[in-house]
């Protein structure tokens, strides 16, 4: 199709605006020399950022989020990697059902997951904290990591693995010398995107952290107080920049060696 459609183009660009502008307000107001967010802008200042650096609770929460994120992303990506291999490589009975089962956490409102885990955790006599949050995040990230890895693995030439076995390598050797290096970009992408999902995740954390706040919990606590607002904006702006870079990097990784761009995150329902 060689025609251009300027109406649609303008609409699309406006839509872009609709999507981006609200997000961009955070960085804008984070430099605003005032405690409330309205126009006109008061003046430029970096004091909110400096304030952000000094908050001890913020650092604690940040550290907690990183810990949870790393564990959740590593575990979920590993689990998802094996599962993706099973789906891509083998024909077996119950394939569709297993696939649906693993995708389940996606298809249920998060609050229900949160509540369910809360109930069992408390009734088992455990204390709330970062551990149940990590479990919840792992559960939530796994289907996601699996989608990313499936997209990557489905194009994989399995005769390469057979060749490796034929040449004398056992299953583990084959994995380390052949499969893993070739899956690596997909694995890193899944790790990064799972990390971000965990990092930003609110509702599971809300129900399960108890007194150990993750970063979103910290922000939630701060959002209710207007005076404390500005440094939250600064924090928000930093997070946005940080996650944007990671996401762009992850997407770039996904497409290496894939040739023509495939439809990523093709959510199969």
């Amino acid at each position: 199709m060689n025609e251009k459609n300027s109406t649609l183009l303008i609409y699309t660009l406006l839509y872009f605006g609709f999507l981006y502008v609200p997000v961009l307000f955070l960085p804008i107001f984070s430099f605003n020399d005032a405690n409330y967010m309205s126009f006109p802008l008061a003046g430029f200042t970096t004091e909110h950022y400096e304030e952000m650096w000094s908050k001890r609770n913020l650092h604690k929460a940040l550290w907690a989020s990183i810990k949870v994120g790393v564990v959740a992303s590593v575990v979920s990506t590993t689990i998802a990697l094996f599962a993706a291999k099973a789906f891509a490589r083998y024909k077996f009975r119950g394939k569709k059902i297993s696939y649906g089962a693993i995708m389940m956490p996606f298809l249920i409102p998060e609050i229900i997951l949160a509540v369910a885990i809360l109930v069992i955790w408390v009734n088992l006599g455990f204390k709330l904290g970062l551990v149940p949050v990590t479990i919840g995040h792992t559960l939530f990230c796994t289907p996601f990591a699996m989608l990313i890895l499936l997209a990557r693995i489905e194009g994989f030439d399995f005769s390469l693995e057979e060749a490796s076995r034929d040449l004398g390598e056992n299953a583990w050797g084959t994995f380390f010398r052949v499969s893993f290096p070739l899956y690596l970009p997909g694995i890193v992408a899944a790790l990064l995107l799972s990390f971000i999902i965990s990092f930003d995740e609110f509702i599971l954390a809300f129900f399960l952290t108890g007194s150990d706040a993750t970063l979103p919990m910290y922000m939630w606590g701060q959002m209710r107080f207007v005076q404390k607002l500005p440094h939250v904006l600064a924090l928000g702006a930093v997070i946005i920049v940080f996650t944007t870079f990671i996401v762009l990097f992850a997407f770039w990784l996904r497409n290496i060696g894939q040739g023509k761009a495939k439809k990523d995150i093709a959510i199969k329902l």
Binding site: F16, K85, N255
Partner: protein, 294 residues
């Protein structure tokens, strides 16, 4: 012995596949299936006092739910808001998808990535942004007042159902785009050209050819938006006020301040059942629609 195991392992693809799948399935069972089963059973108990729960099985909680005006209202409102959000998101995102699929030649991927990028930033922050924008002292109101267009701030923009709908439409846009794009991409463009060739107007071509063929993507988008929205907590909590409350806020209260676990569990189960029912209905309806249109 090893030889025996080797034989079994080599013989069945099933065994190989399930060995690989076992961690994932165990995770699902232990972290999701079992907890949800437990939650279901809790919905059959009674909260006698702050610390005490009566463990006799009863359906009373469900009866209680449907007798409480507030709860039923919240349930209906949650469904209504989700429905609205799904509809608006779909309608507003469709043209964008259409444009990218059919009018962008180079770097389609880049457009998609850029479009979905905001989705990757913290949901909490995005809701918060809208709070800034829609508030009485927020961006919209202060700009309009300063420009002299308004004398008083628009109050309906904040702490209202409207606020919730607007915010959620923004939040789920990315989700609508992807399945739609996938579906549109698969359409054989020569079908559209054939339609034009046979004399159909542009609109007719869209309505009779393109749209029906994109239905799988539409359904995907509907389910992806609708299901999580029904259970959304953050948006109604931050900017719903009283008017924009949803069922999840009540569920949270039951597990928090009110401390009535069985009621909370029952409410959650009802929410889940509603979601499942609607999913089944939507899938079946659209299946039949697709059959009729194709």
């Amino acid at each position: 012995m090893i030889v025996f195991w080797r034989k079994i392992y080599a013989k069945y693809d099933n065994v190989k596949a399930y060995t690989l799948l076992s961690p994932a399935l165990i995770l699902i069972i232990l972290a999701m299936a079992v907890p949800m089963a437990l939650m279901l059973s809790f919905s059959m108990f009674t909260q006698v006092s702050m610390m005490e729960i009566d463990y006799t099985f009863t359906f009373q909680r469900y009866i209680d739910f449907f007798q409480k005006n507030l709860l039923v209202t919240l349930l209906i409102k949650s469904i209504k808001i989700s429905f609205l959000v799904t509809l608006i998101t779909l309608i507003t995102a469709y043209p964008v998808c259409y444009y990218i699929t059919f009018y962008v030649k180079k770097n389609k991927m880049l457009w998609l990535v850029l479009l979905t990028l905001p989705f990757w930033t913290s949901y909490l922050l995005r809701v918060f942004s809208w709070k800034i924008i829609l508030g009485t002292k927020g961006v919209i109101n202060s700009s309009l007042i300063n420009a002299g267009i308004l004398s008083e701030p628009l109050t309906f923009l904040m702490y209202s159902e409207t606020a919730v709908v607007i915010t959620l439409t923004h939040a789920w846009a990315a989700f609508a785009l992807l399945p739609l794009y996938v579906s549109l991409e698969k359409i054989d463009f020569s079908l559209i050209e054939a339609g034009r060739d046979l004399g159909l107007s542009r609109f007719e071509v869209f309505w009779k050819i393109t749209f029906p063929l994109s239905l799988p993507g539409v359904i995907g988008a509907i389910l992806i938006i609708f299901i999580p929205t029904v259970g959304d907590y953050v948006t109604p909590a931050l900017l719903g006020g009283i008017d924009g409350r949803m069922l999840s806020n009540m569920i949270q209260a039951y597990f928090g301040k009110i401390n009535n676990i069985p009621m909370g569990a029952a409410s959650a189960t009802i929410m889940l059942t509603t979601v499942v029912l609607i999913t089944i209905i939507v899938s079946n309806v659209t299946k039949r629609l697709t059959q009729r249109l194709t």
